[in-house]
């Protein structure tokens, strides 16, 4: 019998979080970190149970199909979704099938949607991924958007990114507003704070999203020869955990982020078009660090924005090493 663990990720309306980057989900299986990804086509069902006010099953289905198509359309990745029709089941059901549906969660007043995985802890395979849209929130499926509701397609695209194995990006900026945070700008569909009602911007995948999914689902052959950058973030000679590293392509215009993910300050940013990059390191200091890391105590946010001292160059089909950045306490 397979044992399973549940992992969740939520898209938040006007709540928390800062920064810049894509992150891949991973689990530790017997001490070995395993990246979550699907080995082949991803089947899904659309729940027609307890839909949100004003959203028909057909509206929901079509918004989802457009959102799936956006990810499938990434030329530098091999992604295939298979629609298996409607179901009366709920996303919260433990049924070994991937279900997208609504659940009324008035208690989660700032949460638009949640993706949950059930993972085989023996081999790290994804058994099931479900997406719950909060029916207690106002939704819109209008082509041109509506100020009365959050764009369903845009939020679905974010959640589908989680289903694919992407974590939250920190490519964005927020500021404190009351008890929460106000979105100043976002540079990724996978940024954890949604665009406000009426905005259609969440329908457009950004370079950070595309780099992330291209890194996860590289075509077996014939794909573009993408590169990457890697190095360390250090402070006083010691590695920094949880620094946000952003690569900006001088030619491509790509803005792609990554994180230093261990106590040595190691980071890797993949899915980059070959060329010259400016590398900027910033702290995860203005929001819910738990949107990005489980162990928030390890995250060091006490340093100033720092740039890599040279122009970094991403090769074709490889990762440039030693793009090291030394930061200082503020």
């Amino acid at each position: 019998m397979k044992r399973a663990i549940l992992v969740t990720a939520a898209l938040i309306a006007l709540a928390t979080a800062p920064g810049a980057a894509y992150m891949r989900f991973g689990v530790s299986i017997n001490g070995t970190n395993t990246i979550l990804r699907w080995p082949g086509a991803i089947p899904y069902r659309v729940s027609d149970a307890d839909l949100a006010t004003g959203i028909s099953a057909a509206d929901f289905d079509q918004a989802l199909q457009r959102a799936f198509q956006a990810w499938q359309g990434v030329a530098s990745a091999t992604i295939q979704f298979t629609r298996q029709g409607f179901t009366s089941g709920r996303p919260s059901d433990d049924d070994s099938s991937n279900v997208f549906g609504f659940e009324r969660r008035a208690d989660l007043e700032r949460t638009l949607a949640v993706t949950s995985y059930t993972i085989d802890v023996i081999n790290g395979e994804i058994i099931e991924a479900d997406v719950q849209f909060n029916a207690a929130q106002p939704w819109s499926v209008a082509d041109g958007g509506s100020l009365t509701g959050f764009d369903l397609q845009a939020v679905a695209q974010h959640e589908i990114g989680h289903v694919l194995g992407l974590g939250h990006s920190a490519v964005g900026e927020t500021e404190v507003s009351g008890t929460g945070r106000r979105l100043i700008a976002s540079g990724a569909v996978m940024f954890p704070i949604a665009f406000p009602r009426g905005s259609l911007e969440g329908r457009t995948l950004r370079s950070d999203d595309i780099a992330g999914v291209s890194d996860l689902y590289k075509p077996a052959s014939g794909g573009p020869r993408l590169g990457g950058l890697s190095g360390h973030v250090r402070k006083n000679g010691k590695g920094v955990f949880g620094a946000h590293v952003v690569a900006y392509g001088l030619r491509s215009g790509q803005i792609v982020g990554g994180y230093s993910i261990n106590d040595d300050g190691d980071y890797v940013i993949g899915g980059l078009e070959p060329g010259s990059y400016v590398v900027r390191v910033e702290p995860l200091d203005d929001g819910d660090v738990e949107s990005f890391f489980e162990d928030t105590r390890r995250v060091d946010a006490d340093f100033a924005v720092t740039y890599y001292a040279k122009i970094a160059v991403a090769p074709r089909n490889g990762v440039a090493a030693d793009i090291d950045v030394a930061v200082r306490s503020r």
Partner: protein, 238 residues
Amino acid sequence: MRGSRSRPMSRSIVAIAAGVMCVAALSAAGSASAQSRLEVTLSGARWEGYDLGQRRATITGPQAPTGTPVTLFDSDVAILPGPGAELRLGWRVFRGVYAEATGGLGVNSIEARIHDDIEQAPALTVSSTLTQVTVEGGALVELATLRLSAGHLVPFVDGGGGYLRQVHENRVLIETGRTIYLGAGLKWRSSALHPRGVAQRLMARGDVRFISRTAGVDVDDARRHYLTVSGGVGIRLF
């Protein structure tokens, strides 16, 4: 935006200059045939730099239905001047007309001045080395011969095009492009006719070339222009 030039103008310049070259070559060719001659010149050079323009890292603001850009930081990008070396082989095909092959090696830098960071990080300049290799072919037309007591001074114009290879620092990435060039210069020959001995086969040469290139290291698809200035010594092999 700095650094971009208009394509129609550059095409006009190239077309006019190519026309002048053809007229000059036909005129020289019509005057007389000549013995074959091979000239080899090695020059030190300065490869000028050029702007690549401003690049702005932006993300998207929360306005509905479409957001306005919010700047993370700005950068002004340029190729900086650097030293180079050029080897030229000139084969005389008619009197005053040479087919010429040039191999060039230049060491430049690509530089980005970063400023206006959204979190007020101090402005700074980052750079990396860029080694450039060119292999070009073209024609050189000698316009006149000024006889001096110490030899002959020969003004010339030349033009051609070729292949550009740009190697990033540590050979992490190689990018390629194409060049066309128009130039002018002076040759000094110890003796233009009937050379006797190695000393009288020696020559010196100065060049100024206007280079127009496409592809290679860049921030967009614009054609870029720059100058190279070189001077060196050579020898007539036969």
